[in-house]
Amino acid sequence: MLDYSLDVPAQTLIPPGAPPVQDGRARFREIFCALLAREPGATARPCDALLHRLSDEPDPARPGRPLPSHAPELTVIFVPGLLGDCAYGLSPPFEAAVPRLRRLGYDTRVAPVNASAPSHANAERLAREIVESHAERIVLIGHARGAVDILELLVAHPAAASRVQAVLSVAGSINGSPLADAPAGAELLFPPGGAPACTEAERAALPDLKRAHRLRWLMEHPLPQPPRYFSIAAFARRSEMAPPLRARAAALAQIDPRNDGLAPFFDQVIPGAELLGYANTDHWSIAAARQRPLPASGAAWGETPPFPREVLIEAALLRIVEALARSEAGG
C-alpha cells in the first residue's frame, strides 16, 4: 500500500521505554563522502546516491569539519550473520574490510560464529573470545543476525561486555525479519535448489529472527550503557537488488517497500543508537562482494556497480572513534 518514496522521516519500530535514537546522519554523510572522494574511481556513483537522504535529514555543518583521526588502539571484531557459513555466490562477509582496517593499524578479525546456532550460543562464543583475548577496547560490528548475537552478548555476559566500547549494526536484524515469521517467508528465504546443508542450518536459526521474539527480547532486556551504539540501515529499489532478494523484497513490500530484502528500514536500528544513515543497497551487498553466478538460478547480478562497503565501514569506524573521543573528553 505504501509507495517507495524517500519523502519520509527516519523511523524505528520500538517497544515502550526504548531509549530514543539519535540522529547522526549529517556527520556520517560528511565523513563517508569525504572518504569516498579519496577512492580511485570515486565518481562511478555519486556519494549522494549511495546514502539515501530522507525528508528529515539535517543539513551538514557549514563549514565542513575535517575527517577525524583513526584510533588504532581499538580492536575491531566483525560478527557475520546467516551469510557467514552459507554465502550464495558471495565472498565471505566483510572480507575486504578486514585488510583495509588492518592497514590502518587496527587489530581486526571476523568472529567464528555459527549460522545454525541460536543467538545465545553465538553470544557465549563471542564472550569467550573476548575474555580470552587481550583486547581491552573493542568495537563490535555485526551484520544482520550478527548484530543480534552482539546484543545478546552484551546482556548475558557483562564481563565481556565491559570491554566493548562501541557496537555498530550494519543492516542489523534488530527487530528480526518478517520473513522469519511464517512458512511463506521461510520459502522465500530458502528456495528449492540451495545447498541443503546450509539451508537446513539456516532454518534452525529462524526462530531467533521472528519479529515478535526479537521485540519482546528488546523490551525485556534493556541494553547496557556503555557501550555506545551505532546503526547503519539499508534499503534499495527492488530492481537494483541481487536477484535472489527481489522476491523477498516484493513480499516485504506488503509491509514497507523500503526494505533491503530481509527487513523494512524501520526494523534495522538498535534502540538508543546513533543512526548513521541508510545505505542504498541490499542486505547482501552491504556486507559481501559478488563472486560468481548464483548456484540456484544462475541469474545475473545486474549492472549496478558494487557498493563501496569497505569505505562505509571505515567511515562508520571514524565516526565511532570521533564519538568515543568526545565522550571521553566529556563533550
Partner: protein, 353 residues
C-alpha cells in the same frame, strides 16, 4: 443517520480486495507474543508503559458494575511484557476539577446521530465533570480544525485549580496535536491529551484510497459540509510522520494513548475488507489503523482495547444493524471505558500544577 458514506466504503473495500487478494501475509503471531509497539520518528520520545495500572482501574470499575472478571480480561488485549500491578491500589476518586473537551474523528460531522461516547457523557457529568464536544469539520484537514479547537479552548472558563483535558478520537487526535503546535499560547491552558484509537501516524490505507475518495466524496458525502476536503490526505502515513518530524509537542502536557485491536471476526462488516487489506501489513489492527500507528510520542500507554475502530467510541452498531455490527456479535462498553480513562486521569494529574 446518513448512510451516504457506505457506498463509498464498499467501493474502497472492493478495490482493496482486488489489489491484495494474490498475496500471503508474512507476519503471523498471537497478540500475547508481541509487545506494544510504536512506529517512532527518530528523535521522538518513546511511550511509557502504563498498562498495568489502567487494567487495574478498568477491571475494578467493571467488577463494580457486575462485569465478570474474565470479560474484563478479554476487553483489554494483553500484549506481551505487560507489567504486573505493583500492589493492589484502590480505585482513584473522580476529580471534577478536570474539564474535558472531546474532539471527534473524521466524518463525525456527517453522522450527527452517532456522537462520540454517548453512553459516557452522562456518566462523566454525573461524576461532576464538565464535558463537551468540539464541533470540528468532518471533511477537513487538521490545520483547518485546529482553529475550531483553539476557539473552544479560548472560550473555556478555566479557574486556576481546574485542569483542561483534551480527549481525541481517531483523526481528532491529529487535530489536537496540530492545535497544540499552531496555538502555543492556548496550548498552555491544556494539562493533558488523551488519544483513543488516534490516527497519530496515519494509516497505510490512506495512500491507496485518497484519489478515489477525492473523486467521489462530493457525491457520497453531499449532505456533509465539505470544509477544505483534505481529510483523506491528512491520514497519509508519510504526511503524518513528516509532520511529527517537523514539530515538537509541548513538553508541559501529559499525553496518554489508548489503542484498539480487533480480531478479524470482531471487525464491523463495513470495515472487513479494508481490515483485510491491513492484515497483509500486520495481524494487530482495528479495521482502519495498525496498532503501532496509534501512539502519541512520549505518551503513557494505557493499553489496547479489544474493539474495532468504530466500536470503541461510536454508537454505529445501534444504527447500522448489519454494516456496523460484526460476525462475532461483540459490543464494547464505551461508557465504562470513558469513565476508567477519567479515573486514570484523575489519579495521574492529581499532582500536576
Amino acid at each position: 443517520m446518513s448512510l451516504l458514506s457506505v457506498p463509498l466504503l464498499i467501493t474502497l473495500a472492493g478495490l482493496t480486495v482486488g489489489l491484495t487478494s494474490c498475496a500471503t501475509p508474512l507476519l503471523v503471531y498471537e497478540a500475547s507474543d508481541m509487545p506494544p509497539l510504536q512506529l517512532a520518528v527518530v528523535g521522538q520520545p518513546s511511550v511509557q508503559d502504563g498498562r498495568a495500572r489502567f487494567r487495574e482501574i478498568f477491571c475494578e470499575l467493571a467488577a463494580r458494575e457486575g462485569l465478570p472478571g474474565g470479560d474484563c480480561e478479554k476487553l483489554l488485549v494483553r500484549l506481551a511484557a505487560e507489567p504486573k500491578a505493583r500492589e493492589q491500589a484502590p480505585l482513584p476518586t473522580h476529580d471534577p476539577r478536570l474539564r474535558i473537551l472531546l474532539v471527534p474523528g473524521g466524518f463525525a460531522e456527517c453522522f450527527k446521530d452517532a456522537p462520540l461516547f454517548p453512553e459516557g457523557l452522562p456518566r462523566l457529568r454525573a461524576a461532576g465533570y464538565s464535558v463537551s464536544t468540539i464541533p470540528v469539520s468532518g471533511r477537513s484537514s487538521s490545520a483547518f480544525n485546529a482553529w475550531r479547537i483553539a476557539v473552544a479552548v479560548a472560550r473555556m472558563p478555566l479557574p486556576p485549580e481546574d485542569r483542561l483535558v483534551l480527549l481525541g478520537y481517531s483523526k481528532g487526535v491529529t487535530d489536537i496535536l496540530e492545535f497544540l503546535v499552531q496555538y502555543p499560547r492556548l496550548a498552555a491552558r491544556v494539562h493533558a491529551v488523551v488519544s483513543v484509537a488516534g490516527s497519530v501516524n496515519g494509516s497505510p490505507l490512506a495512500s491507496r484510497f485518497t484519489a478515489l475518495y477525492e473523486a467521489t466524496d462530493d457525491w457520497a458525502l453531499r449532505n456533509c459540509p465539505p470544509g477544505d476536503r483534505n481529510v483523506a490526505v491528512e491520514l497519509g502515513r508519510e504526511l503524518r510522520l513528516n509532520w511529527l518530524a517537523r514539530h515538537q509537542l509541548p513538553g508541559h502536557i501529559r499525553y496518554f494513548s489508548l489503542g484498539t485491536i480487533a480480531p478479524e471476526a470482531e471487525v464491523a462488516r463495513a470495515m472487513m475488507l479494508t481490515d483485510g487489506s491491513l492484515h497483509y501489513v500486520d495481524p494487530l489492527r482495528d479495521g482502519q489503523l495498525l496498532f503501532y500507528d496509534q501512539l502519541v510520542p512520549g505518551s503513557e500507554l494505557l493499553g489496547y482495547v479489544r474493539a474495532d475502530h468504530w466500536a470503541v467510541a461510536l454508537p454505529l452498531q445501534e444504527h447500522w444493524h448489519i454494516l456496523a455490527t460484526n460476525p462475532a456479535g461483540t459490543h464494547f462498553p464505551r461508557g465504562l471505558l470513558l469513565e476508567a480513562i477519567m479515573l486514570h486521569m484523575s489519579e495521574a494529574l492529581a499532582d500536576s500544577t
